[in-house]
Amino acid sequence: MPLKAVILIGGPQKGTRFRPLSFEVPKPLFPVAGVPMVQHHIEACAKVPGMKEILLMGFYQPHEALSRFLVSAQQEFKIPIRYLQEYAALGTGGGIYHFRDQILSGGAEAFFVLNADVCSEFPLQEMLEFRQQHGDAHSFVILGTTANRTQALNYGCIVANADTQEVLRHYVEKPSTFVSEIINCGIYLFTPAIFQHIGEVFQRNQQELVLEESSNGWQRAEVIRLEQDVFTALAGSGKLYVYKTDGFWSQIKSAGSAIYASRLYLNQYSKSHPERLAQNKPGGPIIRGNVYIHPTASIDSTAVLGPNVSIGEGVTVGAGVRVRESIVLHGASLHDHTCVLNTIVGWDSTIGRWARVEGTPSDPNPNDPYAKIDSETLFRDGRLTPSITILGCSVTIPAEVVILNSIVLPHKELSRSYKNQIIL
């Protein structure tokens, strides 16, 4: 069966919670477990039999890094990958509706839609099989997972028939009171029939806009959100099903969740890509747990890395350096005896010897199997919430200082210790 996949990568106005890292690179290209965030999606899509083409869709201007990534991904996965640029932010439904001919070209009988800012096992094959077992050939499938009762309110909540998994009465995006523990993972399987439903919303929007005299210039009929506008209408119609996964899943909204997502992917590497995990070798650094080291990185043999560490291209790690629960981006340099914990070290940043750069992890409650990472607010009661420490690109940290729970914007040269601060 000919298949396609659409990966929704958003645009530069999105991903503000990912600042200051999203200043340098589009968020979908931010490396998670050593590879760009969307490469995990592409890899999962490319594995599905019948996959003809993968389309990245968003409203980034043509971007050198993005083009380069597309070329290399096409070569690596041997599948056509294209970028479709929306002329404006059209919403999750509006974008695919606008490009429906591109998506269906070549006779695609079904297609996946994946949000770029999630990390998952991507059980795409399972979603296909599930659809064959349940429902008819034109039904749509949402990937769902279980959340705890309080955190479910932050997601799209799905009420499904326990026997058939049909999305019964209800789909609500971010309800204010409890609706269901089953939440929308932002990964869908559609047939071309979805465009009729989106089209109906489009028609209705147009009529409403005509009726409304005081039509604001910015309101467009083409802006359609799959979740609120389409799924809510489809609930109870017998066409929408939820496939529940117990595999790992998390949103990647904030920079803090990138470290958590890295941990999930690195963990998966032990099965899927053992070659990507660093091993303890004579003359090599000491590796604890899952660690990714780019082949071009230079690591002193007395350094101790892990668990959950990703070291990028051309990174230098000096003698007696300790890194744990962190992402070190390309070109960064960690001088001797530094200690880096729960931190994202930006591109080409330098950390002087004996400096300590430390953040506070925002991991989900480990005792609750259904807990998700909290999309933490930057400030609480007027104070910066302790979170992971982020060094923007080309930040210089002097020797022997401590940087704790801070965010340092790019190109700063610090001269002293900082705690719980945003350093502009």
Partner: protein, 358 residues
Amino acid sequence: MRALILVGGFGTRLRPLTLSRPKPLVEFCNKALLLHQLEAAAGVSHVVLAVSYMSEALGAAMREQEQRLGIRISLSHEKEPLGTAGPLALARDLLAEGGEPFFVLNSDVICEFPFAALARFHRQHGGEGSLVVTRVEEPAKYGVVVSEADTGRICRFVEKPRVFVSNKINAGLYIFNPGILQRIQLRPTSIEKEIFPAMAQEGQLYAMELQGFWMDIGQPKDFLTGMCMYLQALRAQHPEKLHSGPGVVGNVLVDPSAKIGANCVIGPNVTIGAGVVVEDGVRIKRCTVLKGARIRSHSWLESCIVGWSCSVGQWVRMENVTVLGEDVIVNDELYLNGANVLPHKSIAESVPEPRIIM
């Protein structure tokens, strides 16, 4: 001559170190505090320690030092705390014996104890008492001594002066004629507030200005400041006692039995005690590491006192007057900022803000 050292109580200000041993036995710059005073007291044949608690360790140490220094050391035990003057009355018999002037000193003070000069000064002016004064930068924080410039005769004492009257404060080191004992009764009495003003009024009290450094090291913060001063004085007088070599910066005192690993940078102002092990790649500045402690590799310490037999893990950062009591274990990769840790604790979590760990 005789000397009375006012040791007093439990040294609570220097906790948690004084939970493990009496304050006079806490090593300051690798030597028990008491020994700094005993060894400086040349010409003193009998030392009386005024204590308000009993300690076997102190008794044993005294006997050992009696032998080593060839002097007599006795304890004068207060049943109740007697302040700074009461202990003189309690030890009246010991002090009056022989009719000679005797020294009195505060056990918290560290300086280049000028016993001989003080005795000379005292003989010259012929008054009943002499006290050593030291200059301070901010006299408004202290009680100051106003004295005649040429003779040193003390006119008056002013507590926390609001306008400048003098920058000299009482350094806690005195010499008195036995006659002073008639002024003091056996009850809690402050020598500074009750005895000295009367003596000054009668023109019987003289001030000698101290040369060199002075510090009251009764609190950890001042203990470290005092250490810096002491090491600087050592640099001037006995530079051969200081450590030198690669990775040593400024004034560093290292016991010969201590071991320091490769690629460390130690100093300035560090004291490393007997049997201490500093592993590779450690950075220490402005710290005292007491006997038998171990600092594991790649750690960074500034302005800390590491207690006896402590173990500080790898990649630990400790700063801001962190004090570890005896036998404290700090796990790897932690950050201690101004932590005050009681003895025998194992620390498994960072202490990002100053706090006491019970």
